[in-house]
Structure formats: structure tokens, C-alpha cells
Symmetry: C2
Subunit: 192 residues, 2 copies
């Protein structure tokens, strides 16, 4: 029961904060959206920062859930699976009219200089995405499908950074062009 | 005199908003920092959004001023000049302990879904940086120093997007590693 209410708060908060930002979204608005009595927040979270840490885990988990289907596609070679993952993420952003952007990237921009604990958790979340990419690059390298001299660790980190930048540009331009450009450069230039 | 006070408000606001964000920085804090009487803000700006537009121009102008010295270095080939520009920007970020990040990227993340007018101005500012990069890539292409098949327009936009992502990652990791990685991939992989 306690876990259900805690999860309901996170489920209600996730789209609000994704749209409006962490500081702009008040506890009252979150609890109203979750249908949870005001005042019960501190039963579930020690502070708004503690809640922020749980929210980062929530976004990272949603990302893993979104990726799982594509990553399990054994019919695709590793680089094709990675491209399918980015195609899926592009589709999400396009269907949203290029609003919101990346929830992890947004929070990183907003709180990295304000909360050391959240900054560290966000850094770990980005690193988690880099490790997902890296596993596919390692697999591609093992099959001789990655150019020689392309270090999988650095390449996966660069790819994730460039993706974050492309998401920001798509949000700013309100156009998916930057996402298509990202896929073109990464898959037709960097990985060939 | 009117222009001086207007400029003093922008000069005082720029580092505050760069550190704290647009919505978190109140008008009173800005006017106090500028030493301008409260209430005079609306003499210089029609609204906080109108002020936001002027602030974006202020950041873009600061970027142009920072870049001008490097861009004028006729002793360097165009790609070396571009690398020197990114080296300069890396140095600024490192000396700041990887705090703040890119002022244009920060605002783009924060307000792109909230203010159509600011979003459009931020998109133009990013495009302005892309055009600076593109001029150097065009010059390099004219000298046969850019790989064939690398379109200068798309390449400059991808480079700027990847840079924004690297700045965000450096801010999140509190490490310049992502900025070094960006330079390595762009100059030792993409442009060769």
C-alpha cells in the first residue's frame, strides 16, 4: 500500500516535471494530480531532493522499459538494433510535437549546479544509457562490424552526449530534423 | 543614458540567470545586482519575456565577442581555427569548474515549451553558432581539407548539437571529459 501511493506520486509527477521543470512544479500540484492528500508527501519522501532522486530512477526505469523491446530483437544485428532504438526514441519525440525533450537531460540542466545528490544520480543515469549503447557496440566490435580504432567506451559516451544535444535542438527548433541528422551522422559516418 | 541602464540590467542579469535559471531569478534580484531602482524595469523592457529576448541577444553577442579573436587568426587553417575556438570554450567551462554550462542551451531547455517568442530567438541563436562553424567548414572544403561527402550545412549543425550535448554532460559529470571527447571525435574522426 505504501509502495502503491509512492508509485502513484511518481507516476503523476513524471509528466508534470517533464513538461514544466522540477522547480516550477509544486508539491501541491503533484499531490493533486496523484489524488493523494496534501501533507502525506513527507511520509513517502524525506525532502523534495529525496523525491527528485526517486524521480530520476523512475525516468531511467521508463527509459529501460521503452528500450527493452528493441534491445531484445535478436533478428537485428547490434548496430541495427541500436539504430532501431534511436528510431523509437525519435518517434516518441515526434509524436509529442518535439515538446519536453529528454527528462534526464532536462533535470541535468536544471539541477546539476543546485543539488549535488541529484547531479550525481543524473550522471549515473546518463552513464547507464551509455552502458546500454556500449553493450551493443561491444557486440558489434566482436562481430567485426565496428570500424577499427573506435573505442566502444568513448564512442558510446560521445553518442549519448550527441543524442542529448540533438534532443535539445529538436525541442528548441520544434522540429525532428536534428534527430534525423544525429542518426545520419552516427550511423552513416561514425560507425562505418 | 537609457541604453546604459538597460545594458547594466542585462550585464547584471546574465551571470545570475546563467547560474540559477530564468524562472528562478527574480526581477528584484536582478535590479538589486544592477543597482537600479525597483520599478524601473518596465521602463526598459515591456515584460520579462521581452527582457528574455534581449538576454538571448546578450548571450549570443558575448559568444561572438569570445569567438572573434580565435576566428581572426589568419595563421591557422580553417579547421585548426575551429578547433582553437572549441579549445577556448572548453577552457572557459573548465575554469568555471564545469558549472553553468551553455547559457543558450540552458535557456532553450528551460523555456522552449513555455515561450514561443524566446524559443524562436534561441533557435536563431543556435543557428547563428552553426553558421559560424559552417563558414569555417566551407573555407576548409574550398581548400580540399574536408572529407568529400561531408555537407557543410548538416555537418555544422550536427557539430553544434553535439557540442551542446557535451556541455550538458560536462555540467552533469562536473568533469571536462565530455568536452575533450567531443573534440577528439569531431576533429579526429568526423573531419578526417
Amino acid at each position: 500500500m505504501k509502495q502503491d501511493t509512492r508509485q502513484a506520486i511518481l507516476d503523476a509527477a513524471a509528466p508534470l516535471i517533464h513538461s514544466q521543470g522540477f522547480h516550477r512544479t509544486g508539491l501541491k500540484e503533484i499531490l493533486d494530480a496523484a489524488g493523494v492528500p496534501k501533507g502525506s508527501f513527507y511520509f513517502y519522501f524525506k525532502s523534495k531532493e529525496d523525491f527528485g532522486l526517486a524521480l530520476i530512477d523512475h525516468y531511467a526505469e521508463a527509459m529501460r522499459a521503452l528500450s527493452a523491446g528493441v534491445l531484445a530483437r535478436a533478428d537485428l544485428a547490434p548496430l541495427a538494433r541500436l539504430d532501431a532504438l534511436f528510431a523509437e526514441l525519435c518517434g516518441v519525440m515526434e509524436r509529442r510535437g518535439c515538446e519536453r525533450g529528454c527528462p534526464i537531460g532536462n533535470l541535468a540542466q536544471e539541477v546539476s549546479d543546485l543539488s549535488p545528490a541529484m547531479r550525481e544520480r543524473l550522471s549515473l543515469a546518463m552513464d547507464g544509457f551509455s552502458r546500454t549503447v556500449r553493450a551493443l557496440l561491444d557486440e558489434a566490435a566482436g562481430r567485426g562490424e565496428l570500424p577499427t580504432g573506435l573505442d566502444p567506451a568513448a564512442t558510446s559516451a560521445f553518442t549519448v552526449d550527441a543524442w542529448e544535444g540533438a534532443m535539445l535542438r529538436a525541442k528548441t527548433d520544434k522540429s525532428p530534423e536534428a534527430l534525423r541528422r544525429f542518426r545520419d551522422f552516427v550511423f552513416n559516418r561514425l560507425f562505418v
